[in-house]
Every structure is written in C-alpha cells, then in structure tokens.
C-alpha cells in the first residue's frame, strides 16, 4: 500500500507530532474555558442574585453567603405586591406564545402551499413581498402599529399582541416552508389528485405530514420570537391583568427600590420554557434554519 513508505518517517516524527497535537488540544481547551466563562457569567449572575435572600442583594459577595430559595417561593406564591398576578401574566405569555406558534404555522403553511403547490398567479409576488417584510426591523414599525391598534380600540387586548407577533413571524415561515417544500416531489400531489383528492385533502394528507420537520423548526422559532419580544407587549398591554411577564419584569425595573432577587427569580422561571423547548428541538431547529432563511 502507499502508506508503507511513509510509516518509517511517521515513527521518527511521532513524538514531535504528539507534542504538537497535545499543545493544540491544550490551547483549544483553554479557549473553551474562556468561552464558557464568557457565556455563563450573565446567567451565573442571574442565579446568584436570585438565590440571595431579601435585603442581602446589596453586598459585595460573588456567591451569596446564605443561598436560599426564598425568592423563588415568593414568586411562585405571588407573595410580593409586584408579583400579585404572576401566574396570570405567565399564562398570558403562554397564551401569546401558543397562539403565535399556531397562527404562524397555519398561515405560513397555507400560503406556501397556495404559492408553490397550487401555483396561483402572482404567487412570486407574495413570496417576494414576504422576503421584503422579513428584513424590516419590527421596532421601526412599533409607532404606527400602536396607533393603528388604538384606532381599532384593540389596546390592552392580547390579540393585538398576537397579531403583531404573527405579522413578524409569518414572512420567515413562508420563506422556510417554500425552501423545504421544494424537496417534496410534486408527483405525490399529482398522484393524489388523480385519485380524486381535493386541494384541501392534499394539504392535510400529503403536504403537512411531509413538512413536519420544517413545522417544528418554524414553530420553535415563532415561540422564541414571541418570548423574546418586549416592545410590542409593552406598548399594547398596560393593565396588570393583561400584561405578560416581560412587561411586568420591566415594571420592576422602574420602581424605586427594585427587588433584584425577586426579579431574577422571575426571570429564571420565565426563561425555563423556551430553553427546554429549544434544547428539545435543537437539531431540527438548526436544520430548519440552515434550510434557507435566517432570523434571530
């Protein structure tokens, strides 16, 4: 084999090679440690402050002297005047997130089905317009959106927030579904049609099941978007009972003596669902994202 003549050379060089490999591995490890510190410091801070007992926040400890779960129990039992509607607000967040996911998936998949499968006229125009709106920053449209919702008397209504989130998630959904839909052979549709299936049946029986991976990716994306979003929820929801968790959290920030340990405990509880869902669907998510579009 061609490896034979190389072998003697490799034997002579081996110690050097091994040293170099170990060195590079060590450098990589050191670099890895830097990355871990960089990534985890803010999260560590969140946990450390949340474990602090009340009144001990203003110390110079790096780790709380007497870690306690007190703040978590206060958040869970709504035992502080700022937190009196915590579970209701958490429910609002879940409701907004769930409705955003569902509507984004429904509208996105129907639109992409109509454009690429039923080949409606001017379909390309819709997909281009979707792409265009995908790149307009949401925060730039907040002011007109707020005014419009006020004109229609929809402020303080969760549906106005859901409408906003769906508006910003749908272009991306259409984009990804179209990319993914190309991989599904059109012959399947034709075969079903010859067997007498209506477009609705084709959509439910063939298109949706085959699109499942893309649906999962876009659904996760839409949930993260709704969970990350603050500005619209802040502008559109002002009463304590209708607001979502991020808006309530930001209200803490504006109070005179912000109880940081409660805030951080709330923040951690709020962060748990998306983190869990994200890690559960991580593989699908990256697959879906790299399929075409990109949006944080």
């Amino acid at each position: 084999m061609s490896a034979e003549p190389m072998a003697s050379g490799a034997v002579r060089r081996r110690p050097n090679y091994r040293l170099r490999r170990n060195l590079s591995e060590a450098a990589a490890l050191a670099f890895g440690v830097v990355i871990v510190i960089w990534t985890l410091t803010p999260i560590y801070n969140m946990v450390a402050v949340a474990l602090e007992s009340h009144g001990n926040v203003f110390t110079n400890d790096i780790w709380p002297a007497k870690p306690s779960l007190e703040s978590f129990s206060i958040v869970v039992t709504e035992g502080y005047w700022y937190l009196e509607y915590f579970w209701g607000q958490f429910g609002n967040s879940l409701y907004v997130g769930g409705a955003t996911v569902f509507l984004t998936l429904a509208i996105g998949s129907l639109a992409s089905f109509a454009i690429s499968r039923m080949r409606i006229r001017y379909g390309w125009l819709v997909s281009n317009a979707a792409l265009l709106t995908y790149v307009i920053p949401a925060s730039f449209l907040a002011i007109p959106f707020y005014r419009i919702m006020n004109i229609y008397d929809l402020s303080n209504n969760l549906w106005s927030v859901i409408a906003a989130e769906v508006t910003f998630a749908t272009p991306y959904a259409i984009f990804i579904f179209q990319q993914y839909g190309v991989c599904i052979p059109i012959e399947l549709d034709e075969a079903a049609r010859i067997d007498g299936a209506s477009p609705i049946q084709v959509y439910f029986r063939i298109y949706l099941p085959l699109m499942a991976p893309a649906l999962v990716a876009v659904g996760t994306y839409a949930l993260l978007l709704a969970w990350n979003e603050y500005l619209y929820q802040f502008l559109l929801l002002s009463s304590k009972k209708s607001m979502t968790v991020p808006v309530a959290l930001a209200q803490f920030l504006n109070s005179d003596e912000a109880p940081w340990n409660y805030m951080m405990a709330t923040a951690i509880i709020y962060a748990l669902p998306p983190v869990a869902i994200y890690y559960a669907f991580r593989r699908r998510m990256t697959a879906g994202l790299t399929m075409g579009g990109i949006k944080g």
Binding site: A28, F31, G32, I35, V36, W38, T39, L40, T41, P42, I43, Y44, N45, M46, V49, T59, N60, D61, I62, L131, L132, V135, I136, P137, S139, F140, L141, A142, I143, P144, F145, Y146, R147, I148, T167, Q179, N228, Y230, L231, P246, L249, L253, W260, M263, M264, A267, I268, Y270, A271, P274, V275, Y278, Y279, R282, T286, L289, T290, G292, I294, G296
Partner: protein
C-alpha cells in the same frame, strides 16, 4: 404589514420634523452611536462567529458539549439576560466589580453610569453575547456543507492551516458570510432590547440608538411624528442594504 408601513410613511411626511431633528444634539449623538453600534457590533460579532464556527468544527466530545453551553444565550429570552447584565455591570453592587475588587483589589468603574463610551461598549458587548451564538451556528452549518473531498484535494496540493482557510473555506463561505452580515446589520439596526435594558439610553441620554430614540420621542415625550421621523431617517441606509440583500438572495438561490 403594508398598512403600518404606509401609515408610518404618512406620519413622518413633514420635512420640518427632519430639520428639527438635525439641529438636536441628542439626535446627532444617536446617529454616531448607531453607526458605531453597527460598524463595531456587527463586524466583531460576525468575525467572531466565523472564527468560532471553525473552532466548533473540531472533533471530540467536549467540543460538542461546549457548543451546547455556548448556544445558551440564544435560547434564554432577551429581557431576563439583559436585565441580568444591567445589574451585573452596576458600579456599586454589580458582580463584575465585585470580582474585580475581590480578586484583583481594583475598584472597577461604574460601567453604565459614568461614561458614554463605557456604556456604549457594554451595550455592544451584550448584543454580541446574545447574538453571536446564532450566527456561529449558521456559519457552522455552512462549513459542514463543504464537502470533505475538497479539503483532501487541497491537502494533497499542500494547502494546510491558514492557506486552507483562505483558498478553500473562505471562498466557499464568502457569499453566506456576506448575506449573514447584511441581515445582521438590518437586525442590529432594529435592535431595541439590548440598548433599552442594558444602558437604557443613559447616562444622560448619550447612548441611544435610532430604534430606542424613536420610541422615546414617541412615547415619553409624546410626539409620535418625531419618533417616526427618527426611525425614518434610517431609510437612506436601509434601502440600499435591502436591495443588495434581495439581489444576493436571488443569485444565491438561498443555498445557505
């Protein structure tokens, strides 16, 4: 979608608003901040993502584990993490200065309270913290799509190390990198959360960017027309970016 855009254009139609903005020192500072935010923030983030995506191509179980930790900022919602950073950078009680004091015996500065540049730097770093993992994953997927045979062929021709990167990896990634940078510029331009929650535009309104100043003018000063005008003044930058991006996306047929 078209309705808010059209309504926004209509709200910001009065040229006098722009004249008023131009003469306002806060607005001038905001434009400088936005430019710095975009130029430094986007480039540092994308370049870091490019390097890190190469790092995560390494084999080994611990690199995979590290990637899992590294993508955490992307999964944690924006608001809790930015609030945590805000408190962490507090000059008197924040974690960062506590560490500086306990470990090095140095009294750290008030990161967000004292100087405009420190605060702006903190905001940019927070933005990078939150969004770099996302772009790293995208570029990592781009790198994975490069067939291994190309590297083998290049190795036979004697290209290793840096040469391998400049002659094989980068030409293949260049288009993706450009598209990502353009998209990232647009998203960063509209980034409200990191500025609003880390520095809050302070100290003394010196670290606002266009997105946050627009909201401030519209809702804190209650002049929505002025707020729209602030946001609209980003159009001369946005329109060319969008056109360039659409062209790139079409020629590439979005094979990211």
């Amino acid at each position: 979608m078209a309705y808010p855009v059209a309504y926004g254009l209509w709200l910001g139609r009065d040229p006098a608003l722009y004249a008023e903005l131009m003469s306002e020192p806060i607005y001038q500072r905001t434009v400088v901040n936005t430019t710095l935010y975009l130029v430094i923030g986007v480039n540092l983030k994308m370049f870091g993502a490019l390097l890190l995506s190469g790092f995560f191509m390494r084999r080994g179980w611990w690199v995979k584990g590290l990637l899992l930790i590294y993508v955490l900022p992307w999964a944690v919602p924006a608001l809790p993490s930015f609030m945590s950073i805000h408190w962490m950078l507090n000059g008197q009680w924040g974690l960062l200065n506590n560490i500086l004091w306990n470990v090095f015996g140095v009294d750290g500065p008030g990161w967000l309270e004292t100087s405009r540049w420190l605060a702006l730097g903190s905001v940019i770093m927070s933005h990078i913290w939150k969004w770099m993992p996302f772009w790293t994953v995208i570029l990592l997927a781009g790198r994975m799509a490069i067939p291994q045979e190309l590297y083998e062929a290049a190795a036979v021709d004697g290209a290793t190390g840096l040469k391998r990167f400049t002659y094989v990896t980068f030409p293949l990634l260049a288009n993706l990198y450009l598209i990502c940078t353009l998209l990232s510029t647009l998203f960063t331009l509209g980034d409200f959360n990191s500025v609003y929650f880390v520095s809050g535009g302070g100290p003394a309104l010196s670290t606002h960017v266009l997105a946050t100043l627009g909201i401030r003018d519209a809702f804190e000063i209650a002049r929505p027309e002025l707020g729209v005008a602030v946001v609209m003044s980003a159009l001369p930058l946005m329109i060319p970016l969008v056109i360039l991006l659409m062209r790139k996306l079409h020629t590439a047929e979005v094979q990211l």
